[in-house]
Point group: C2
Chain length 255, copies 2
């Protein structure tokens, strides 16, 4: 009897990235892993889906037995395609990542990594997004351990319908890692500006650039927890209603 | 003394769409309108931003005195570019739309229209997304009136920091319109599937297709309100923390 859990993995850095390979290695110890991921990098894709263009799928093989399907669309497309078209079973768990670079605070709304997991939650699959707080990756070890631990936890405890976990792993050495902290989405944001440049034909163009700003001081919030070497686990959902303002607004329009 | 409000308008259907022209006409009666919108259609762009490619801006003029800036990026890029680079003032109000097609229930997470307004809220500008519940538009009149009324309301009453309004207008005749209903994000979703086709070279490709499903029965929810000819106004925010599950999850990891 095969009781191994069926795990779907995806990401936004693309099927050829190091992060999804590390995730595949880690989760292959837990279950049967299927990989369906974008054919190219789709960072900052937000929750885009492809409705005005075609989607293509091709088989990919990498070293060590890694095989999967590359989809020409966005991370959200990948989750939809995997569940509705490619796989002939419903996964027990979806894990998106391991993203190169954190997805913390307000910045999660831009995240393709998170959107792929959100799509999993929409499809009633327990889902996790996992990101490493570094763009220059020396080691995936902390992230692999975190992915395994939290995947095991979710397989055992399940998640409420419509809720997913946004996990961020600090880039410290394993010795300095302080453990898991359950957090709220904090105030971290990307303070962006535009750099104007001139092309060889004297035309003007722009690059978005900027820096991450985080004013949170409490470990209750995701960015602060990661800065202090905790693995941050934030339960998020996709009901955007601002319930704290709802009654007030009703009063404004009824009054 | 010029006390006219400064209003920024944008959208996801692009600067040449009918909907943004209708919005420009409507809001020009209220204030000084600046238009910064995508150069081409960006429907279902979600909250994507352009970080790995350049952005270009060009001046656009249409009939009737409509002029604006076309940005080569996403709706969220347009809001950022407008506020940080193109305009030399901070707008008093941002309105995104008028979108051809509703943005209701769970489907708002895919919406470029909503994401442009969300970006406005992030930048501390009172922001509104407005969509018409029809893809075949006979008349923009209801939407223009709704845009004006709700824009006036927000200019007068302001919005809490971090909260925006998601407005959806039914496609009924003005006579059948029942007024404004303040609602919550409901359960409406797009039940998607993939249609497989074969290209002339015998390769396989897919189109996403599907239908909108709405199981809500109460006027408390956005989709139901619009179906019953109310203008739905939903206060939304971008803090995705599922607070109802937070303490439970803390208990799981601490216990």
């Amino acid at each position: 009897m095969n009781t191994k859990p069926k795990i779907l993995i995806t990401n936004d850095d693309g099927i050829y990235s190091d992060g999804i390979y590390a995730l595949w290695e880690a989760l292959s110890e837990l279950g049967d892993v299927s990989v369906v991921a974008p054919s190219t990098e789709k960072s900052a894709a937000g929750h885009a889906i492809t409705i005005n263009n075609i989607l293509k799928v091709k088989n990919v093989r990498r070293q060590g037995g890694f095989k999967g399907w590359a989809v020409s669309g966005t991370p959200a497309d990948c989750t939809k395609m995997a569940v509705k078209e490619i796989l002939d079973f419903k996964p027990d768990l979806l894990v998106s990542g391991i993203n190169r670079g954190s997805n913390l605070g307000n910045n999660i709304i831009y995240s393709g990594t998170v959107s792929a997991a959100t799509e999993g939650a929409i499809l009633n699959i327990p889902s996790i997004a996992i990101s490493l707080d570094s763009h220059v990756v020396d080691s995936w070890e902390n992230s692999k351990e975190a992915a395994k631990d939290i995947a095991k936890h979710v397989l055992k405890n399940d998640l409420p319908k419509g809720t997913l976990l946004n996990v961020n792993v600090p880039s410290c050495s394993p010795d300095n890692l302080k453990g898991i902290k359950v957090t709220q989405q904090g105030a971290q944001y990307f303070k962006d500006e535009f750099e104007q440049r001139i092309n060889p034909s004297k035309g003007t163009y722009y690059w978005m650039k900027g820096e991450i700003v985080d004013t949170d001081t409490s470990l209750e919030f995701d960015g602060r927890a990661v800065a202090e070497n905790y693995i941050s686990v934030t339960p998020i959902h996709f009901n955007l209603t601002d319930k704290s303002f709802l009654e007030d607004l009703k009063g404004q329009f009824d009054g």
